[in-house]
């Protein structure tokens, strides 16, 4: 069964460093998302991406964040200058365009980011 994959599973970085989190969505999906979950809290929407552009973003997704689909398979989230409060689990998700359950989002296993 196709699945969303994410790398790395864990990332430890120093405050102020840039990090890139990578995702490979399900191959025929066209909508891509990033969500984050601070430890002990609920999952929050960051950004959605469709047709090579951001379709929606939350207040959390400020100028320190950017997303890119550099090729036909990868979808990345970049944090330019990490802060302590960026420490969280980051989930990538994707969904298809058509079909009986086309609104269903499929989540990757997450990347746990720790900023020291």
């Amino acid at each position: 069964e196709p699945e969303v994959t994410q790398t790395p599973s864990h990332q430890v970085t120093q405050m102020g460093q840039e990090v890139i989190l990578r995702c490979v969505p399900i191959s025929n999906h066209l909508y891509f998302y990033w969500y984050r979950q601070i430890l002990g809290q609920k999952v929050e929407f960051l950004v959605s991406f469709y047709n090579n552009e951001i379709s929606e973003k939350s207040e959390i997704f400020d100028d320190q964040f950017s997303v890119e689909r550099p090729d036909g398979s990868n979808f990345t989230l970049k944090i330019r200058s990490t802060k302590l409060e960026d420490s969280a689990m980051y989930f990538c998700a994707s969904r298809g365009l058509a079909g009986r359950s086309y609104n269903e989002q499929f989540f990757g296993p997450g990347t746990r980011l720790t900023v020291l």
Binding site: Q37, V43, F45, S48, N103, E104, P109
Partner: protein, 107 residues
């Protein structure tokens, strides 16, 4: 934005017991999903259920869209069912999650 409330916030069960988790939402939705977050933090898709009833083994879910709630039933619970159960809804293609129900199943 849409509000999602889950109850109860915490639940402790003996192995073999049944339970019902509830999700209330404040507006019409296109999508409702239930997830189980395992001890490693992974979100496991349980159900995509914007309306109606579905069953998968010991788990089943019902969404009454007109009354804006969904229920997740766990029967004959096992210790591996422990974790956090999240309900998430979308009205505009982005998912809004509830705060979850933390379930602990003791042997």
């Amino acid at each position: 934005g849409i509000q999602v409330e889950q109850s109860p916030p915490d639940l402790i069960l003996q192995e073999g017991a049944n339970s019902t988790l509830r999700c209330n939402f404040s507006d019409s939705v296109n999508n409702l999903q239930w997830f189980h977050q395992n001890p490693w933090g992974q979100l496991i898709n349980l159900f995509y259920i914007p309306s109606g009833t579905k069953q998968n083994g010991r788990l089943s879910a019902t969404t009454v869209a007109t009354e804006r709630y969904s229920l997740l039933y766990i029967s004959s619970s096992q210790t591996t069912d422990s974790g956090v159960y999240f309900c998430a809804v979308d009205a505009d293609s982005t998912l809004t999650f509830g705060k979850g129900t933390m379930l602990l199943v003791s042997p």
